[in-house]
């Protein structure tokens, strides 16, 4: 991975909730255009890792370096040890460049699909209404929902809601997308439409960190697979290495636990 293409670097990232340490020192480099799938059992820290990247959770220790710039400023903490202080304005600027899609969609129920996709552009990026709306319509079309622009989320299926959520994140022109178990809350028959959308993004060169349990998706779409276990990177490599010839004991247990995972034909994932 060449340094010039790096978009994100995590250095010794740790996160504790009270006495519970969820992340125990994560180092990770992400190059522009890369799709990285993060696997791991529940409680392994996958979601927390993603949430530390855009500071929905503030890391307890360690650094987040985004686009070559360390986030936050080093100060001396109360106990005299160095600490990092994060300013709200800096975090917000980072967040406009990093899109996130959630397990439970989290669409704004009081706004139409179009309103959801327009909101961040208007409020945060201060784009003029006409520009924001045409961008929103383009993004809805991209996820195959041009005809649902005026629907409220409650009138959409889970798969459609999740695609609106993807459009909402894309409308901000993010340089990195964080996808947190985006198909886990969906009925099985709706998973495919969302995965196809994500795959298309990956093929366009969007940089993505994807937490998922869909091993078939990881196999076909990921450039790199990372397996987390108890807050540490237990194993990483190409999808073929990690999924077909895992070396870590925990990785093997995890993959066997998923049964004989069926590799879908590449075609079924393609739009």
């Amino acid at each position: 991975m060449s340094g010039a293409a790096e978009i994100l670097r995590l250095e010794g990232l740790r996160k504790s909730f009270g006495a519970l340490e969820v992340l125990k020192g994560i180092d990770l480099q992400v190059a522009r255009g890369e799709t990285i799938v993060i696997l791991g059992a529940s409680g392994s820290g996958k979601s927390t890792l993603l949430r530390c990247v855009n500071f929905l959770e503030q890391p307890s220790v360690g650094r987040v370096v985004f686009d070559g710039r360390p986030v936050g400023t080093e100060v001396r903490g109360r106990d005299g040890r160095p600490a990092i202080r994060y300013r709200e304005a800096e975090i917000n600027r980072l967040r406009t460049r990093v899109g996130m899609v959630f397990q439970h969609f989290n669409l704004f129920p009081h706004m139409t699909a179009l309103g959801n996709v327009t909101e961040g552009q208007r409020t945060v990026l201060r784009r003029p209404r006409a520009e924001a709306e045409s961008k929103a319509r383009a993004m809805l079309a991209k996820v195959g929902l041009a005809d649902k622009a005026d629907q409220y989320p409650a009138r959409l299926s889970g798969g459609q809601q999740q695609r609106v959520a993807i459009a909402r994140a894309l409308a901000m022109d993010p340089e990195l997308m964080l996808l947190d178990e985006v198909t886990s809350a969906l009925d099985p028959e709706l998973v495919g439409e969302v995965l196809r959308t994500v795959r298309a993004l990956s093929e366009e060169g969007m940089t993505m960190l994807v937490v998922t349990h869909e091993l078939g998706f990881a196999y076909h779409v990921a450039d790199r697979v990372i397996f987390l276990h108890e807050g540490r990177v237990h194993e990483q490599g190409t999808p073929q290495e990690v999924l077909l010839r895992p070396t870590g004991a925990r990785t093997r247990d995890f993959i066997e636990g998923h049964g004989v995972f069926r590799l879908p034909d590449a075609g079924t994932l393609r739009s």
Binding site: T96, V98, M100, N106, H110, V124, M172
Partner: protein, 221 residues
């Protein structure tokens, strides 16, 4: 018992009753407006992690929720002027008591309403890069206010009826006017019945209208 009904002497005084009704409405609307505005501030204060903000806000809410409104009205009219260096009219005293009382209740309504919003909504707003103010104004409050609407309606109607307590300090609102008429013509049944009907006629349509509005908002969601 051959009771001699005397509604004529009530109807004849309609200008007095009308003035009373206007005073009642003024007291109710002004204290509702002040109470809601202050309630939002106090409700936000109860959220604060700073003890210097959190504790006074909490104390305020508890004091006003756990003392009778009539006592609060009397206190502002009879006790407050003794410690404060200025005269206080019956209207001001009633307004102070009812506004602060409404503030205490609406602070709780705001707090419960905001807490009822799923954490994922905050996450989504933050992930877009919104400031705290934008999160609250654009995402949280519009949803929370819908959920608060029934509680605020109840509160508004309660407040409207509560203004009658101001008659205890001789503020000439609707009930006080009825007492004046009943005292002059010895017709309490007619006077108080009329006033009760006026209160009902004013409150009931409001209640119905808000029910209808709630139904419309539910459909939109």
């Amino acid at each position: 018992m051959a009771y001699h009904w005397d509604f004529a002497n009530v109807v004849r005084y309609w200008p007095i009753l009308l003035r009373g009704l206007l005073a009642t409405c003024q007291l109710a609307t002004v204290s509702l407006a002040l109470g809601l505005a202050l309630g939002l501030v106090v409700g936000a204060g109860r959220y604060s992690r700073r003890a210097l903000v959190h504790w006074p806000a909490t104390a305020f809410v508890e004091v006003f929720r756990n003392t009778p409104v009539l006592v609060q009205v009397m206190w502002f009219f009879f006790a407050f002027p003794i410690i404060a260096p200025f005269e206080i009219s019956a209207y001001t005293a009633a307004l102070a008591a009812l506004s602060l009382n409404t503030a205490a209740f609406s602070a709780e309504i705001f707090r419960a309403g905001i807490q009822s919003i799923a954490p994922g909504q905050w996450d989504a707003a933050r992930a877009l890069g919104m400031t705290y103010r934008q999160q609250v104004r654009r995402i949280i409050l519009p949803q929370a206010v819908r959920r608060m609407l029934p509680a605020f309606t109840n509160r508004g109607v309660e407040l409207f009826k509560m203004t009658s307590l101001a008659s205890a300090i001789a503020f000439p609102e609707l009930l006080y006017q009825a007492r004046t008429i009943a005292g002059a013509h010895f017709n309490p049944i007619e006077a108080y019945t009329t006033v009760a009907l006026v209160y009902f006629a004013a409150a009931w349509p409001v209640t119905r209208a808000v029910y209808a509005l709630e139904r419309r908002l539910r459909v939109a969601e």
